[in-house]
Amino acid sequence: MIDLGLFREIFQSLNKNKLRTLLSGFTVAFAIMLFTILFGIANGFQNTFNNEFAGDANNSIFIYSGRTSKAVEGYQTGRRIQFDNPLYSEIKQEFSDDIEFITGRVYKNVTASFGNEKSNYSVRAVNPDHQFIEKSEIKDGRFINPLDIKNNTKNIVIGNLVVEDLFGEIDPIGKYLDLNKIKFKIVGVFVERTEGSDSNEARVIYMPISTAQKIYGNNDYIDQINLTYNPSLSEEEAIAFGNKIVDKIKEVFFVADNDQSAVRARNRARENQEITQFNGVLAILVLIIGMGTLVAGVVGISNIMIFIVKERTKEIGIRKALGAPPSSIKLIIVLESVFVTAISGYVGLLLGGAVLNSFDLEDYWITDPGVSTSLVIGATFTLILAGLIAAYVPANRAASIKPIVALRDE
């Protein structure tokens, strides 16, 4: 029954009633536009969150030390907690099952000079695992390796902005860089994997942690312990695991259980969980609002289609008198409804996409709020379904019109 003639009929009817078609399409177009914009904004939030933490592995735990805030077992408050190599080894050993990568960090600010160029940088002295925790990408050469640690080599790996600052066009690999009057050999250059992230990350100099401990203090102090947990851990397990490490450290240093400042951990699992929850709530909200507006659109179309059927009662009667079976009357209404719904839905989709693209929303925590292909495909089915639903009542009403009643209608 679906042939070209039918579509010609529908186009003719739509074309001859432009205003009516436009009005009935408007509600759906508007609903879909709203939905697209909301969906895009929600997507944008999600992208922002993902970007915000993209610099670190998403299963990282950073453990910091500070001063005690609670007196315990004869110890005063304000006691400084200092991590060291034995603690690092102990953690590494005790939790080896749940640890993926682990490194200590020693911080030092240095003045670096190469030839006539000179600038201040922060040095992070680390273990080889650090590369995978910070997601640093080696551009040239290599990262710190276990031999560097073992032999306390004076090898360093520098960020690409350090190269830009000091070396310009010169290839820095194999060159010696002067850090606070001590010469270090450059063995690698890294870039930060995420674009637009804090450029300071690309102005860092990495050196073996053992070398830094020897040169800058001749001790075994560690400023910070960074690790990534076993990715197979669930978020709950990972959070528990982080707490376990903190408790362990507190025990070693005789810190009160409820002391929040002496030993602290930043656990990505916790952040992930919060983001997941937030995104979930946001997605549900958008879905409710989107579905609500879509339902309003469907009701609008249905309403207008009922009106159209009423308005076309006479025409339908004439068609029936001329031999139109009920099914063909139904089909006209259904196709018209689906057609109007789908077309105006796409207009809404395009408008929504245009609105999202035309504003720079980065300042409002919204990054790349694009419309995905899956959304477009999903929307197509939803719209066709919506059109069918919208046509249900009017089509049946049209089909049940008695030709005699219809012909009498003026």
Binding site: G5, I318, K320, L322, P325, I404
Partner: protein
Amino acid sequence: MLKINKLHKSYKMGDSSLHVLKGINLHVEKGEMVAIMGSSGSGKSTLLNIIGILDELDSGEYTLDGIEIKDLTEKKAAQYRNKFLGFVFQSFNLINFKNALENVALPLYYQGLKRKERQEKAMFHLEKVGLADWSTHLPNELSGGQKQRVAIARALAAEPKLLLADEPTGALDSATSQDIMQFLQQLNDEGKTILIVTHEEDISLMCKRIVRLKDGVIMEDKKIKQNRLI
């Protein structure tokens, strides 16, 4: 061609019921041109609607071209209307967003004909009513007489066995009315069976037989000498 026996029809008006047709017996042979006369409320339009399968009878028998019209589904009724019957209405009932040719082609569309065939046939019938040059005009660009000619062309397009005209000249001035009636006579001469509902005496005199209805019964059924316009 058409046999009606003991036809009864009543309409429900709230609690009471209005008995419109009270036992109609009517036989029409092929090639007849019958005028159904009566004042308003006599039941003539109801009778035409039942004959046109636009309405259903309550009791009695109705046979059209040897087929009993009874308890039809909507689909079947539509099919019979399309195949057997051509309608001409007082208010023309053209579809106003379709041009003359498309209006004439519409019943052919419901016969399932191909577009090209439809247009050829429709054009043929438009030529027959003398409106070939007006084929692309919309109804509101046509005069009353022209509209009724398009409507007649449309009624003829499906080549029906029976042409039903409900006050075909009711909305036309007398000169145009003559014109239309002359054309209907011509069609009848060609062998088409025509039933005309009218309340105008002079129109009825242009037919070959007059059936007078009053209060739902046939008062008079007589053959007359046709007032020829050709």
